[in-house]
């Protein structure tokens, strides 16, 4: 199978391509598309099943949204409360302004332990801050312990989904990676073979490595507790066996009360993996002598989140609980997979989050990577109106491109012209006449348009276009109004046209 080159390069915002360019390359990878389609179909079917069992699902979504909305409204209060309670329980809290600072803090915490290796639970936030690279630069080896992240790490690949990072790989591909990297030429490709290989590979690391690195699903303000949900038990190992545990979490991950977990532990597993409950739900609060890690650090990451908070229309982006349901439901993501988005946050949530986290050129193409079909909004457990935020961000991009000389871009000139046409009946009718005449060079046999110039070529590469009819509706209406009263035209036959 042809391997699209994109899956081999990291999700580096500096080098990522514009979405349409990256998407075009990935669309050529038939195996990847098949894998993505299969995996998202399976998860969606499971989700639909467990959501349908929950008779109060819509109320749960409302509750989830209300809690997130309230929390973000009073974010400063809840963050301080979390900090105090975490410290009271023996945790150390650090604050990081951006990705670089967060990575530096974690590197120096690992160095304080004189450790040269860490074990990691799957954390997309650590991908956001490019932690593994920073650790490597400092001579610290990171072992991913989540099965999917292990596949990604050993395959020198990048995550393509926030919950199922290796969803673009199938079993045979995973087998090949494991066989090569774990030196197991005889390895089979049955699920048992692969998990057994991973288990043997990881078990020894769990027992040896002294520092664990995790993310967080929720930071609980009223107890200072941190919650991680997972399916493999690797998380539980990383949270309990090391001497030192370092967690990194976006400041948006806080929720007010332990009691609120009731809502989120129903919403999250059902939306994320189609499970009623995650197999492993870990909540820990600070440190406890004789039980688990002796030292616990948490790094709270801003990285543009406070900027998002200030934008009233985009703020709901931060309600996200990272379930990935929008990715599975998105018809665009399902065609391209996650790498086309050039960011660890792919799919609809990535299309709104990434451009707000980083203002790189490729990120400006992401709010347009959607047909605004609304499937994402429909499945979102906290009711983020993603299409609404996409439109809002498109507006920001357009207004930026209307500054100075860049307002001379062809799209803006065209859109201004069309807007002016729509502001006047006279101009609108003139434009209709002009289109009827102007289409002649493109008409084939006077019946169909098969080729259009410029950016409209995108349409005719796989689609024909019907010509503009000689009589518009308004012409017909005017003609009809001019007729003497009585039986009016009803020019419709039973033959499909």
């Amino acid at each position: 199978m042809k391997q699209a080159p994109l899956t081999q390069i990291g999700l580096n915002p500096q080098t990522a391509k514009d979405f349409p360019v990256a998407a075009k390359l990935l669309l050529e990878d038939a195996q990847l598309r098949k894998n993505v389609r299969h995996a998202t179909d399976v998860i969606q079917a499971k989700r639909a099943q467990v959501v349908s069992e929950q008779t109060d699902w819509q109320q749960l979504r409302e509750a989830g949204r209300a809690i997130r909305e309230h929390t973000l409204e009073y974010l400063e209060f809840y963050l301080k409360q979390f900090e105090q309670n975490c410290q009271r329980a023996g945790g150390q809290v650090s604050w990081a302004r951006d990705a670089t600072e967060a990575a530096q803090i974690i590197v120096s915490l690992v160095q304080q332990e004189s450790a040269s290796e860490v074990i990691k639970i799957k954390t997309m936030t650590s991908e956001e801050i490019r932690l593994n690279e920073a650790l490597e630069t400092a001579g610290i080896r990171a072992y991913e312990t989540d099965l999917a992240e292990l596949i990604i790490q050993l395959g020198k690949d990048s995550p393509s989904h926030i919950v199922v990072p290796a969803l673009h790989k199938n079993r045979q591909q995973v087998r090949d990676i494991f066989a090569r990297e774990m030196h197991l030429p005889e390895l089979g490709d049955k699920p048992q073979d692969l998990t057994e290989a991973a288990r043997k590979f990881l078990r020894e690391k769990f027992l040896r490595v002294k520092v664990g690195v995790s993310g967080a699903n929720f930071l609980i303000a009223d107890t200072g507790g941190v919650c991680i949900v997972e399916s493999e038990g690797n998380g539980r190992m990383c949270l309990t066996l090391p001497e030192t545990l370092i967690a990194v979490a976006g400041i948006d991950k806080v929720i007010p009360r332990f009691q609120d977990m009731e809502v989120f532990l129903q919403l999250l597993p059902r939306s994320a993996t189609g499970e009623r409950m995650n197999p492993y739900n870990s909540i820990w609060t600070g440190v406890h002598p004789g039980d688990g890690p002796k030292r616990f650090h948490i790094v709270l990451l801003d990285n543009a989140r406070t900027e998002i908070l200030e934008d009233a229309e985009a703020r709901q982006t931060l309600y996200c609980i990272r379930c990935g349901a929008c990715q599975n439901a998105c018809p665009v993501y399902r065609q391209t997979g996650g790498h086309a988005y050039g960011s660890v946050y792919a799919g609809p949530i990535g299309a709104i989050l990434t451009p707000q986290l980083q203002h790189m050129e490729h990120a400006q193409s992401l709010p347009y990577a959607s047909s605004l079909c609304g499937a994402c909004y429909e499945v979102c457990p906290v009711k983020i109106n993603i299409p609404e935020v996409l439109i809002h961000l498109r507006g920001r991009i357009v207004r930026e491109r209307q500054q100075g000389l860049s307002k001379l871009n062809p799209e803006n000139i065209g859109m201004q012209a069309v807007a002016s046409i729509f502001r006047s009946r006279r101009r609108f009718e003139a434009a209709q006449r002009l289109a009827r005449i102007g289409q002649w060079p493109f008409l084939r046999h006077g019946e169909v348009i098969e080729r259009l110039p410029g950016f409209l070529h995108g349409w005719t590469q796989v689609r024909d276009l019907k010509p503009v009819p000689q009589q518009s509706f308004r012409n017909w209406w005017q003609q009809r109004e001019e007729q003497p009263s009585g039986k009016k035209d009803d020019a419709v036959s039973s033959e499909p046209s």
């Binding site: 349409p20 669309l27 509706f473 009803d490």
Partner: protein, 247 residues
């Protein structure tokens, strides 16, 4: 009832038959149809592409034209969604309180064509005759923004002679998405390919919908692939047959 038609700019220019069919059906049911020649576009294309400031005069224009309408009929789900879901926000952002009030007062009178028939006028059988194998494509705006559900299907099921077949994966977008189809032409094409194969699997002669925008997109590929499947707006099916209806 006095029904004001907002035809939608692209229907006006590209799909006049749909407008004629809407007029036929509504008049056949005994209603008076009005059409203001001042109308142009609801502003959806500009708004959704990010040209939100440019959409504001079009919102004002719409309100001016239709403020005295008894009922407004729009044979395009996506334009209804624009008016219903976005006009209030746009008005709010302009800070023009009077405009916001006018829009609030206008919205309960705005209906998509099938919605008007079934939900407002209580009609499911318009006396149409259409002896063809037909499949219905649910547009995303109709399905999700308007929550049309089976409203259009209830109308279709009452058409005499029709052989209605279900489209598989009916909730999947056809990939049109306005400017998405040209800005992300390759992804859009891949989505369209799936929709077209679902349409072909039904062996329908006609694919119908409440939105000519999706149909224009689907037709584009059906025609390019030299298939014989037609696309026809729901209104045109309901206007077919010319049978006198007294529901």
């Amino acid at each position: 009832m006095r029904i004001s038609l907002f035809i939608a700019c692209y229907n006006d220019m590209l799909f006049p038959e749909t407008g004629k069919a809407v007029v036929t059906v509504l008049e056949r049911l005994g209603h008076t149809v009005e059409f203001s020649l001042e109308q142009t576009c609801c502003g959806q294309m500009h708004y959704n592409t990010g040209y939100q400031d440019e959409a504001v005069p079009l919102v004002r224009r719409f309100v001016e034209i239709f403020r005295n309408a008894e009922v407004i009929c729009i044979p395009s789900s996506s334009c209804v969604a624009m008016v219903r879901d976005h006009y209030p926000k746009i008005a709010h952002k302009t800070g023009d309180v009077a405009l916001a009030h006018e829009i609030d007062a206008l919205l309960p009178r705005v209906f998509e064509f099938s919605e008007l028939l079934v939900q407002k006028l209580g009609v499911e059988d318009v006396g149409a005759y259409f002896p063809h194998r037909v499949t219905y494509h649910a547009s995303c705006h109709g399905l999700r923004n308007l929550q049309l559900g089976d409203t259009p299907l209830r109308l279709l099921r009452n058409v005499r002679g029709i052989d209605l077949v279900e489209l598989e994966n009916i909730e999947q977008c056809c990939g049109f998405g306005g400017t998405f189809a040209v800005k992300n032409a390759d992804v859009s094409s891949a989505m369209l390919a799936e929709k077209v194969s679902a349409v072909l699997n039904t062996e329908a002669e006609v694919c119908t919908a409440c939105d000519n925008s999706c149909l224009m997109h689907i037709w584009g590929a059906l025609h390019r692939q030299r298939t014989s499947v037609h696309t026809t707006h729901l209104a045109e099916i309901l206007a077919s047959g010319g049978m006198d209806s007294t529901p």
